[in-house]
């Protein structure tokens, strides 16, 4: 299964993914200036969160054992057999928000004005996810879920090699200008 992966070291928290997700997937105008005038206000299917040290995009992990899927009382949440992505059938959603409460990652969002739940479906009916397309630093990438662990291992190996002999404190840097 392919999911959207986030390179934490590349995310600058610019929220371009959030803006254009709302424009492309939540608006009828499909351009930003049109979308900002729409009512109800378009909503994105992902969020950019920030801590003191880093920021990252969070969106649906497409869990293998998805609690939302099992809990949905109306059958609005289904797994697409072609790509195993969990999608919301908006016509079936009864806006009970059970999925919102049960999602362990907090990545299903209620949209009361439109009366359905919003979640990332990896833009499954489009060629590429819009967030991946618009990310200016290429922090978002479509990756094979099975290969994620392999990628992490490689990353840890490179980091260990880089950090060996370096006294740099956890990615923080000081720059002295002048003498």
């Amino acid at each position: 299964m392919k999911v959207i992966g986030v390179h934490l070291d590349r995310c600058t928290g610019c929220k371009t993914c959030e803006l254009y997700c709302a424009v492309e997937r939540g608006s009828s105008g499909k351009t930003l200036p049109k979308a900002v005038q729409e009512t109800p206000v378009p909503k994105p299917r992902l969020r950019v969160e920030r801590t003191n040290d880093a920021c990252l995009t969070i969106q649906c992990r497409q869990c293998v054992e998805a609690p939302c899927l099992n809990a949905c009382p109306s059958g609005a949440l289904v797994r697409d057999p072609k790509n195993e992505i969990v999608v919301v059938r908006e016509d079936r959603c009864i806006a009970c928000w059970t999925c919102v409460m049960l999602c362990p990652f907090g990545v299903i969002f209620p949209w009361p004005e439109r009366k359905f739940a919003l979640k990332c479906d990896r833009c499954t009916y489009m060629e590429h996810p819009v967030c991946v397309e618009v990310c200016p630093t290429r922090a978002l990438e479509v990756v094979d879920k099975d290969k994620i662990e392999e990628m992490y291992r490689e990353k840890r190996r490179i980091e260990a090699k880089t950090d060996a002999g370096s006294s740099k404190e956890e990615g923080r840097m000081r720059c002295d200008l002048g003498s």
Binding site: K15, T16, L19, T31, L32, P33, Q37, P44
Partner: protein, 490 residues
């Protein structure tokens, strides 16, 4: 389509074959450009607590750190852009410190007086430009006050452009040639980018006119470069400067102030010698470098048809335009089209389509800037044509037509002014100024005003109160939409 010029398309294919990225590819790679700024919701104040941004969809923060709301942010950005435009115009005046009051020439001064009543405040002065900078240090005025100030700066910009004109020698009209045909045949071609000192270009022209085995010519790569008896010929519009470089026909580039950084990068990649005008010691050295580059066989086989050159006269004074209109017994409707190439549209699409369509509707069309170069390149402005498009001096642009029409009491024949693309903030300030004077103005590219309905409504109401209109779109407008705009404002 990236451009409507078939020769440019040929050059684009050649660039793609050689793996050269040009401005269109950079534009594509930059998409989407900053969404917050595009709708005016990125704080423009000179403050180091930010940069603060407001979520246009209302989910995130609705105020900046200092408490500035979205209306304040959008209004401040408009004011900042207008201020930069006014400063750009101020910098074109030889001795700006000597000017205190800014005014428009009669009879436009009456329009300005009326407009100022609507826009509140006293007469216009250069000091007002400097005072505006203090408004952009910390939020202290209402969004409405900021919008009013942006409009006042627009009118000041018009006054400054007029001031610049009076400081120059008045000349009736000057000859101008444009088209890829200039690059045809065997000759040494020096491309001029930006604005090198006029004396340097004159000296180069003098030096290059001496007899030699191969002819030397100087061409502009899109910037309007005025000489004593005409304009330097244009190989291309400003948007297509990079294309003309990859043609292999430019043997040396002379870079003046205001040239885009990409030109030097591209010259390096293509091994085209580049000389920066402030480093020039001897003009003979420039010619020697150009001859040396010419002796190296070009990688490309580009050789355009020599007939692809059109001539037109550029009207430099209102008197000249006025007498032309009188001679032609002009009773038609006048449409003004001008502005820079923008990658938001196919280059040349709006000026070419619109000029043809408006002429077919019986309009007389006058243009300035890149739009005017497209008119010349397509032969719309060639002498001897029926209802030839008129080319206006780039700096004065619509102001020149306005003065001519006002003097002859035919302002009502002006049907509208369309900015086909905006590059410099000066163009935006001029558009605001013209709308502030009570004219109908249309901008074919989106303005960063979509983040605040209050600002848009106030601007529209204020302009309407003075009889003006500023139409802008939430998308790059197409030629049909702008044609409809002209037809609906008869």
């Amino acid at each position: 389509m990236k451009t409507v010029d078939p020769v440019s398309q040929e050059l684009l294919r050649s660039a793609a074959d050689r793996g050269l990225d040009l401005n269109w590819e950079r534009y594509q790679k930059l998409q989407p450009q900053d969404g917050f700024l595009r709708v005016g919701l990125s704080c423009p104040y000179g403050c180091l607590q930010g940069p603060c941004r407001i979520d246009p969809f209302g989910r995130g923060p609705d105020h900046g750190l200092c408490g500035l709301d979205r209306d304040g942010m959008v209004a401040a950005l408009l004011l900042r852009l207008s201020l930069i435009g006014a400063l750009e115009a101020l910098n074109t005046i030889p001795a700006p410190d000597t000017i205190s009051e800014v005014s428009l020439p009669a009879p436009l001064d009456e329009m300005a007086t009326q407009a100022l009543k609507n826009l509140e405040g006293d007469s216009l002065s250069v000091g007002e430009i400097y005072r505006t900078t203090s408004l952009l240090q910390r939020p202290q005025e209402t969004p409405e006050q900021m919008v009013l100030q942006a409009l006042r700066l627009g009118i000041i910009t018009l006054g400054l452009l007029e001031q610049r004109q009076t400081s120059l020698d008045a000349q009736g009209s000057l000859l101008c040639k444009a088209g890829y045909g200039l690059l045809a045949g065997d000759k040494i071609t020096i491309g001029i980018c930006g604005h090198p000192p006029r004396e340097l270009i004159e000296a180069l022209l003098k030096e290059s006119s001496r007899k030699s085995s191969v002819r030397v010519q100087l061409v502009s790569l899109g910037d309007w470069i005025r000489l004593n008896d005409g304009f330097l010929p244009y190989a291309c519009t400003s948007g297509e400067a990079e294309l003309s470089l990859i043609s292999g026909k430019i043997n040396l580039v002379l870079l003046g102030s205001g040239a885009d950084p990409t030109i030097s990068d591209l010259c390096q990649r293509l091994d085209v010698p580049l000389v920066e005008s402030q480093e020039v010691q001897e003009t003979g050295e420039i010619l020697r470098l150009a001859r040396q580059a010419y002796s190296i066989p070009s990688e490309t086989s580009f050789d355009p048809d020599p007939s692809l050159v059109h001539k037109a006269r550029v009207i430099m004074t209102a008197q000249d335009l006025e007498s032309l209109l009188r001679k032609e017994k002009f009773h038609a409707r006048l449409a003004l089209l001008g502005g820079a190439d923008t990658p938001q549209h196919s280059f040349g699409w709006i000026p070419v389509e619109l000029t043809s369509a408006l002429r077919a509707e019986g309009y007389l069309v006058a243009g300035w800037g890149d739009a005017a170069l497209w008119m010349i390149k397509n032969g719309f402005a060639s002498e001897g044509q029926d209802h030839a498009a008129r080319i206006l001096d780039e700096y004065q642009g619509p102001l020149l037509a306005l003065k001519a029409l006002a003097v002859s009491g035919r302002l009502e024949s002006l049907q509208g002014i369309c900015f086909t693309g905006l590059k410099a903030c000066r163009d935006l300030a001029v558009a605001l100024g013209l709308a502030g004077l009570g004219l109908k103005v249309c901008v074919a590219v989106p303005l960063p005003l979509w983040g605040s309905e209050r600002v848009r409504n106030f601007l529209a109401d204020k302009l309407a109160a003075g009889g003006g209109l500023l139409t802008h779109y939430d998308h790059p407008a197409n030629a049909e939409e702008i044609l409809e705009w002209f037809l609906n404002h008869r």
